[in-house]
C-alpha cells in the first residue's frame, strides 16, 4: 500500500490538513493571466512561489509557462518588496516585451503589506512602464480561499483595471468562463459562435496552453484575450459568469462599474447544466439554440441511453473545486450514478447547500480539513466504483483498486485535458466515454472467463 497509514477510523481534525484538495491563490492568478494576450504573469514574492506555480502549470499542460518573480530576499521581507518589483517591471518590459504584466501577490508580500497599486504608480512615475504597455495587479494572499480565489481575483482585477465604458453600449456578451481548460474555452467560444453571438471571453487560454509545436518557439503564443477586448467589456450588454467561485467577483465588478446585468451559472458540465446555460443564453439574447447544438445534445443523450446499464447505481468519489464538482455531481445523477463522497479544499458555504440539495444522502465536505485523506478514509469504510479528480487520486486508486478518471487540476500524468473538453454536450460525451471505458475495462478485467462479453 502506498498510503499505508490511512486508517478506516475517521478522527476529527482541526489543524492538520493531509493530502490537500486545494492549493493556494497565486497559481490561479498566474493561470488567469496566461489567458490574456501578450501578458506576462508576475509573482510578487519569494522565488519558490513562482517556481512552484510554473512547475505545476507546466506539468499540467506540458507547455511553456513563463512568469517573473520579485525574488524576495530576507532584506526585501524586512524592508518591503518595492525595489524588487520596480526592477522586475523594468527588466521584464525591457527583456521580454509583454503588452501587459499581471502582478499577483503572495503570502509573503501580503504579510508584509506591500501596496501593489502604489508600487505600480511609482513604476509609472519612474518611467519603467513603456508607452502603450500596461501593468495589472491582484492581491492574492495564499492564506485565504484557494487557487480558485486567486483566479477570481486576477479576473476581477483585469476587468476592474482595464474595462472601460465608451458611452456606447454594444450587443456584445461578456463571458467569464471560470477556471476551465483551453479545450473548454475553445468549446465555449464555439457554442456561442454557433448561436451567432458576439462574445468576449476573459480569460482565454486556448491557443496559449495548447499551442502547436512549430519548432519556432516564442514567448507569447497566439491566444489570449486582447487588451482591446477587455477594454470593450465595459460596453457589453450582458455578462455570463460561469462558476460561482471563479467568476462571480469579476461579474459583480462589471455590474457595479458599468451596470451590466449578470447571470452567474454553473459551469456547463454535463447535460442539465449545459441545457440551463444555453437556454439562458437563448432567453437573454433572443437567439435560438441552433440545430447543431440540439443535435449534439441528442447525441450525448443517445450515448447515455445506449449505455445506461453500465452506469446505473455506480458509486463515485470525487474531489476538486466546487465550480466543477457541483455540475459534475449533477451530471453523474443524470447518468443514474451515485456521487457518494465529495470533498473540496476550497471554502465557501454554497458548496454545502448545493450538495445538500443534490445528494442529501452522500458524504461531502469543503473548506478546512476537507482533504483527500478524509475522502480516502470514507472510501476505506465503503468502497466506490470510480474516483474522479486530479492526478493525486492515483495513489488511492491503486491502493483500493478503483479506476480513476482524471479531471480537475493538476493532471500531471496523462495528456488530453488540454485538447479534449469536458464542457458542453461534446465535452460531456468525452467525459462519458472516459467513465464508460473505465467501468467497462474493469468489468472485462474482473469477469470470469465464462462471462467475458464480446458485445457490450
Amino acid at each position: 500500500m502506498l498510503l499505508r497509514h490511512t486508517t478506516k477510523t475517521v478522527a476529527d481534525r482541526e489543524a492538520l490538513t493531509v493530502n490537500p484538495a486545494k492549493t493556494c491563490q497565486p497559481i490561479g492568478a498566474m493561470y488567469a493571466a496566461l489567458g490574456v494576450h501578450n501578458c506576462l504573469p508576475h509573482s510578487h514574492g519569494s522565488q519558490g512561489c513562482c517556481s512552484y506555480h510554473r512547475s505545476t502549470l507546466t506539468r499540467h499542460y506540458k507547455e511553456p509557462v513563463l512568469a517573473g518573480t520579485s525574488s524576495f530576499t530576507e532584506g526585501s521581507s524586512v524592508f518591503g518588496g518595492q525595489a524588487n518589483l520596480l526592477q522586475a517591471i523594468d527588466t521584464m518590459f525591457t527583456v521580454y516585451n509583454p503588452d501587459i504584466i499581471a502582478i499577483h501577490s503572495t503570502c509573503l508580500s501580503e504579510t508584509i503589506g506591500d501596496d501593489l497599486k502604489q508600487i505600480i504608480t511609482k513604476a509609472m512615475e519612474d518611467g519603467k512602464i513603456p508607452a502603450g504597455k500596461n501593468v495589472a495587479y491582484a492581491h492574492t494572499p495564499s492564506y485565504t480561499g484557494s487557487h480558485v480565489t486567486g483566479f477570481a481575483n486576477m479576473c476581477e482585477s483585469f476587468v476592474d483595471q482595464f474595462a472601460e465604458s465608451s458611452g456606447v453600449k454594444s450587443k456584445r456578451i461578456n463571458l467569464l468562463p471560470g477556471w476551465v481548460e483551453p479545450s473548454d474555452m475553445r468549446i465555449l467560444k464555439r457554442m456561442l459562435a454557433e448561436m451567432g453571438l458576439d462574445v468576449v471571453m476573459l480569460p482565454d487560454t486556448s491557443d496559449v496552453l495548447d499551442a502547436p509545436m512549430t519548432g519556432k518557439g516564442g514567448m507569447y503564443p497566439a491566444g489570449g484575450t486582447t487588451l482591446e477586448q477587455i477594454r470593450s467589456m465595459g460596453d457589453s450588454a450582458f455578462t455570463f459568469a460561469l462558476g460561482d467561485w471563479a467568476s462571480t467577483s469579476a461579474a459583480t465588478k462589471l455590474n457595479a462599474k458599468f451596470n451590466i446585468p449578470v447571470e452567474v451559472m454553473d459551469l456547463p458540465i454535463g447535460l442539465s447544466a449545459t441545457d440551463r446555460f444555453l437556454d439562458r443564453v437563448r432567453t437573454v439574447t433572443g437567439k435560438p439554440v441552433p440545430a447543431s447544438l440540439t443535435a449534439d445534445r441528442g447525441r450525448l443523450l443517445d450515448m447515455m441511453t445506449d449505455m445506461y446499464q453500465y452506469l446505473y447505481g455506480k458509486t463515485v468519489a470525487l474531489y476538486g473545486d466546487p465550480d466543477q464538482l457541483i455540475p459534475l455531481t449533477e451530471f453523474l445523477l443524470d447518468l443514474n450514478m451515485v456521487p457518494k463522497f465529495i470533498v473540496s479544499g476550497t471554502p465557501g458555504k454554497k458548496f454545502m447547500s448545493r450538495m445538500e440539495q443534490l445528494v442529501p444522502d452522500s458524504k461531502f465536505k469543503n473548506g478546512k480539513c476537507a482533504d483527500m485523506f478524509l475522502m480516502h478514509q470514507w472510501i476505506k469504510n465503503e468502497k466506490v466504483d470510480l474516483l474522479m479528480g486530479n492526478t493525486y487520486g492515483k495513489y488511492i486508486a491503486r491502493d483500493e483498486d478503483i479506476p480513476l478518471i482524471r479531471m480537475g487540476f493538476p493532471i500531471m500524468d496523462r495528456v488530453g485535458h488540454q485538447y479534449f473538453p469536458t464542457l458542453g454536450y461534446r465535452g460531456a460525451m468525452h467525459l462519458l466515454e472516459k467513465i464508460l471505458s473505465a467501468l467497462m475495462d474493469r468489468k472485462d478485467r474482473d469477469a470470469p472467463e465464462e462471462s467475458f462479453e464480446l458485445v457490450m
Binding site: 486508517t7 478522527a11 490538513t17 519569494s46 527583456v95 519556432k216
Partner: protein, 541 residues
C-alpha cells in the same frame, strides 16, 4: 574523448545577450557568464541574488530544505507550517524513491501534511494551530519523528516553531519533533535551504545512536537523493563490493540512519553543493573524513568505487571492487559502442542543480557528445571553480543570514578514522580529502559557463549552439522543445532512470539515443510549409 572538437568563442553571443539587458542587469549578469578555461578557471559569479523579473530556474529556501534534503526520508512526518501551497507543491513532485523494509514499515512520503494557515493564523499567530497539528499527526500516526518546515509568513509573524517542537517532543516522549526555519525568502536559492537542513539534521539527529554494526567497510553516501532509483543502484553496487552503507543523506533513508551515521568511517559526497556542510560537521565532531564521489557516468562510478577501496586500503576489497567494475564495464562498453555512432560529436547543454550540470557531462562524454555550455541553478563558486576558491568567496548579506553551526570535536566520541600521516599517504596516492574540483576543469576551452541562467539567455544560447539535447528542469522543458530541440530533464530524469552507476549509465545512453533518433523532430514542418506557395493547380486553379 571528442578532443578534436573545438568550441567557438562565446564572446559575441555573450555581448549580444547583455546588449538586451538594462545596464545594471547587464553589469550583473556579465559576471555570471564566463568562457571556460579549464586551466585558469576564471571566476564565475554565483550564489548571488537573481535579478527580479529576469525569469529564473531557481526556487526557494523551503524547496531546498523540505523538498530536497528532507523529502526523501520516509519515516518522518514532515509538516509544512504555512498556507497550503508550499505543502501542496512539494508533495511527491521530486521522484525520490523509497523502499520500506516491509509492507508494515513507515512510509509517509506519499502524504502531504500542512497546517493550511489561514488569515487568522497570520494575524494572531500560528503557534497554536501548529501545536494542534503536531498533536493530530502524532495521534493519527505515532511516528518516530515529526519535522516542521517554516514557510514565508512564519518568520515574519514570529511563530517560534522550535519552541513548539521542543514542547511537543517533551510531551510525547517517544517522538522526535524538530523544526526548520526555512522560510522561502532566505538566501538566494534552494541552496540556503540545504544548509539549514544540514544544520538541523546535525543538531537533532546525527549522533543520537552510537551502536555500531558489524560491517568492515562502513561508509555514508551523502547528497544522493534517490531520484528515479539512483540510490538503489548504488546500494546494490556497494553491497556487491562488500561495502556497508550506514546512512544515505537522504535517498531511501530513515531517521534511524541519520542518528547512526556518525559511526561510519567515511563520508562519500555525491552532491557537494547540498550536503558538504553536514560532512564537514561530522568530521569536526566525530572524526570521519569525507571524499567527493560521483556515480553518474560509468567511468566516474568506477573511479568512485576505487577511491573508496583506496581509502580502506584492503586487498580483498580492492580485488572485489575491480571484479565488480570489470563485470559492469563489459555491459557498458557494449552499450556505448552500439549507441555512440548515433550520438558522436553532437552537442549537449545543461543548466541544472548544484552538481548535476557537472556530473552529467560524464555521461555525455561517454556518448561522444560535447557539452558546449553549462551552469548551475543554485551552485556556488566552488562548484564551478573548485574548493580552493572557498577562502576568496565574499560572504554577502544573504548568505550571512544562514546560520553556521559552531561545531567542536565531541569530547567522548571524536575519533579520527585515519591519522594525519595516513591521510597524507593516501593523498600522495591521489586520494584527496575534503576536496571538490568543480565543473570547469572537466569542460572544454570556450565552453560557456553560465550561473543562474535566465529564460532569455537560454533562448539565445539555443539559437547560437543548436544543441542536439538540452538539459534543465520542468520549467524549461517545453520552452526548449517548442524551439524544436529535444529536452532532457535532469531533476526528474523525465520520469525515467535510474541513471546512477553502470546500469544507470546504460539506461541514460538509451534514453539519449531515443531523443536523438526520435523521428518526430523531422516532422516539424508541414509539406506546405516546406514547399512554400507554389502550386500545381492543374485541375482547378
Amino acid at each position: 574523448m571528442s578532443e578534436e572538437i573545438k568550441l567557438p568563442d562565446p564572446g559575441p553571443l555573450k555581448e549580444a545577450i547583455l546588449a538586451k539587458y538594462p545596464t545594471k542587469v547587464a553589469r550583473k549578469r556579465k559576471k555570471s557568464m564566463v568562457a571556460n578555461d579549464p586551466e585558469t578557471r576564471p571566476a564565475v559569479q554565483a550564489n548571488v541574488r537573481t535579478v527580479p523579473g529576469l525569469i529564473t530556474q531557481r526556487g526557494c529556501c523551503y524547496a531546498g530544505c523540505k523538498g530536497v534534503v528532507l523529502g526523501p526520508t520516509r519515516d518522518i512526518v514532515n509538516i509544512t507550517h504555512g498556507p497550503i501551497g508550499c505543502g501542496f507543491y512539494s508533495w511527491l513532485t521530486r521522484r525520490n524513491q523509497t523502499r520500506p523494509e516491509t509492507l508494515d514499515h513507515e512510509n509517509y512520503m506519499p502524504y502531504s501534511f500542512s497546517t493550511d494557515m489561514e488569515e487568522s493564523n497570520v494575524v494572531f499567530g500560528g503557534e497554536k494551530k501548529l501545536k494542534q497539528a503536531i498533536q493530530e499527526a502524532y495521534d493519527l500516526f505515532h511516528p518516530r519523528g515529526i519535522a516542521v518546515f517554516a514557510t514565508c509568513p512564519v518568520g515574519l509573524i514570529g511563530d517560534d516553531i522550535h519552541a513548539v517542537c521542543k514542547e511537543m517532543k517533551t510531551k510525547f516522549g517517544d517522538c522526535n519533533v524538530f523544526a526548520f526555519s526555512c522560510e522561502g525568502y532566505k538566501g538566494v536559492s534552494q541552496s540556503a535551504g540545504h544548509h539549514i537542513a544540514n544544520n538541523q539534521l546535525f543538531k537533532h539527529l546525527v549522533g543520537n545512536d552510537d551502536s555500531v554494526s558489524a560491517g568492515k567497510f562502513r561508509i555514508n553516501m551523502l547528497g544522493e537523493y534517490n531520484i528515479g532509483g539512483d540510490a538503489f543502484v548504488i546500494e546494490e553496487l556497494l553491497e556487491r563490493c562488500g561495502i556497508e552503507l550506514v546512512a544515505t543523506f537522504s535517498g531511501n533513508s530513515t531517521l534511524k540512519q541519520f542518528e547512526n551515521a556518525h559511526t561510519a568511517d567515511l563520508n562519500c559526497i555525491m552532491c557537494h553543493r547540498s550536503i558538504n556542510y553536514v560532512a564537514e560537521m561530522m568530521e569536526t565532531k566525530f572524526g570521519l573524513p569525507w571524499i567527493k564521489v560521483n556515480f553518474i557516468g560509468a567511468d566516474a562510478s568506477a573511479k568512485s568505487l576505487r577511491k573508496i577501496a583506496q581509502y580502506f586500503d584492503d586487498a580483498k576489497l580492492t580485488e572485489q571492487v575491480e571484479k565488480v567494475i570489470a563485470e559492469e564495464m563489459a555491459t557498458v562498453e557494449k552499450a556505448v559502442s552500439a549507441i555512440r555512432p548515433t550520438t558522436q560529436g553532437k552537442r549537449a547543454m545543461m543548466f541544472v542543480g548544484g552538481s548535476r550540470a557537472h556530473h552529467y557531462q560524464e555521461l555525455f562524454n561517454e556518448l561522444g557528445m560535447v557539452t558546449v555550455s553549462a551552469g548551475y541553478e543554485f551552485g556556488h563558486r566552488d562548484d564551478y571553480e573548485g574548493r580552493e576558491v572557498l577562502p576568496t568567496i565574499k560572504v554577502d548579506a544573504d548568505s550571512r543570514n544562514i546560520e553556521e553551526l559552531e561545531v567542536e570535536a565531541d569530547p567522548e566520541r571524536y575519533s579520527p578514522r585515519k591519522s594525519e600521516a595516513e591521510l597524507a599517504k593516501l593523498a600522495g596516492k591521489g586520494l584527496t580529502f575534503r576536496d571538490y574540483e568543480g565543473m570547469m576543469p572537466a569542460m572544454k576551452t570556450n565552453a560557456l559557463v553560465i550561473d543562474d541562467i535566465s529564460h532569455y539567455e537560454m533562448e539565445k544560447l539555443i539559437e547560437f549552439y543548436k544543441p542536439a539535447v538540452f538539459c534543465a528542469g520542468i520549467k524549461e522543458k517545453y520552452c526548449v522543445q517548442k524551439l524544436g530541440v529535444p529536452m532532457k530533464q535532469l531533476h526528474s530524469y523525465d520520469y525515467s532512470g535510474p541513471y546512477a552507476g553502470f546500469k544507470g549509465a546504460v539506461k541514460f545512453y538509451q534514453d539519449i539515443q531515443q531523443m536523438v533518433a526520435n523521428r518526430m523532430w523531422s516532422l516539424l514542418k508541414a509539406p506546405w510549409q516546406e514547399t512554400g506557395p507554389q502550386l500545381d493547380a492543374d485541375y482547378i486553379g
